[in-house]
């Protein structure tokens, strides 16, 4: 049994409403990897923009080149099974990097 709450009254959903909800839920769950990849690409763009000045000033190091290359290659080097690892953040509030991304690919040289 599934329920909706209308004006504070809990009402059992009709079969059609349940079917509509489940269909939407399935689509949402099936698109989980795409949403994660979009978030990863958004983070990647941020990191690349943060380090554009390395290139612009003309003295970029090999390590810095590799860092930026690894960022650009994320979609190639990591499949969907690795997306959660790429998006993982430090959850220990006692640590200085609380809330920061923990995967090594994000760490600047």
């Amino acid at each position: 049994m599934m329920y909706k709450n209308v004006n504070g009254e809990r009402i059992a959903m009709s079969e059609n409403e349940i079917a509509e909800f489940n269909a939407e839920k399935t689509v949402w769950e099936n698109e989980s990897s795409n949403r994660k990849l979009a978030e990863i690409k958004h983070l990647r763009l941020q990191k690349l923009m943060e380090t554009d000045f390395w290139v612009l000033r003309g003295d970029i190091t090999d390590a810095q080149k590799l860092y930026r290359k690894d960022l650009r290659d994320i979609p190639t080097n990591y499949d969907s099974s690795k997306y959660d690892e790429l998006l993982a953040r430090e959850t220990d509030k006692t640590k200085d990097n609380f809330g920061q991304l923990t995967h090594a690919v994000w760490s600047k040289p």
């Binding site: 599934m2 004006n7 504070g8 939407e24 839920k25 689509v27 941020q46 953040r89 959850t91 609380f98």
Partner: protein, 248 residues
């Protein structure tokens, strides 16, 4: 000999009876207001000039010396419905008995609204036939947001055009015990004019506090009479959503 004058201070003893125009006592008796007075005391004499009023109404002047019972029309928030969400509820709705022609603006208050699923977004949809179907592909929404953690924050925006959902947050509302959404949304519904809304909500996930400030416009000339809120692709755990009608 006819008396021309009587010195009432010296020539009369005892009390003058009521039937003779006196007070019937040596002092003026108190008047019992509950049983000893009839009629209404006019405004000009310090009264209110009316014998009764109406429950929950106020007194107002209808002339320079007349008062009447009247509704409060100075602007107010009227609580219309409070929904305490139960675990597993798939949606929270306010139907045509709440969303009526009485009000042109509504305030929805969200208190610790929690999601069953992780990394989802909070959304609003509208119906013009009391939930029989929902307006589709006509909602423009946008919001600014800020994520913040210790020593780190991100400010950005998101938007959608011709959507069915009015998306109030990004898809990163968490489902932990201390996570969820609180805030408010003002919703404008002026007859058949397109509906509009703006909102400010705060949400949390396991590492971030997130603030969303957004607005929507639904390009439809139907008259919305049903509003529903959902967590995309999942159900609610708990929380409260309260709907107020606003008299402006």
């Amino acid at each position: 000999m006819a008396l021309s004058k009587i010195d009432v201070t010296k020539m009369i003893t005892g009390v003058t009876p009521l039937t003779n125009g006196g007070t019937g006592g040596t002092s003026i008796p108190a008047t019992n207001l509950a049983s000893g007075v009839t009629g209404t005391l006019p405004v000009g004499n310090g009264g209110i000039g009316i014998a009764s009023g109406t429950t929950d109404q106020f007194l107002k002047f209808t002339g320079t010396t007349t008062l009447a019972s009247a509704t409060d029309n100075a602007g107010s928030f009227t609580k219309l419905s409070t929904v305490d969400i139960s675990s597993g509820d798939s949606l929270v709705a306010f139907n045509s008995s709440i969303i009526t022609s009485t009000y042109k603006q509504y305030l929805f208050m969200f208190t610790d609204v929690r999601s069953t699923g992780d990394d989802t977004y909070f959304k609003m949809q509208e119906s013009t036939n009391n939930g029989g179907g929902f307006l589709a592909n006509d909602c423009d929404w946008q919001f600014m947001f800020q994520y913040s953690t210790q020593g780190n924050s991100e400010f950005n925006q998101n938007h959608g055009k011709n959507d069915t959902d009015c998306q109030l947050t990004n898809a990163n509302v968490g489902n932990g015990a201390n996570e969820g959404i609180s805030g408010q949304m003002f919703f404008s519904r002026n007859g058949s004019l397109p509906s509009k809304a703006n909102w400010d909500v705060v949400s949390t996930n396991n590492t971030n506090m997130q603030f969303w400030s957004g607005a929507m416009y639904r390009d439809d000339n139907g008259t919305t009479n049903y509003v529903r809120f959902q967590m995309q692709g999942t159900t609610f755990v708990s929380g409260r959503i309260t709907c107020y009608g606003i008299t402006t």
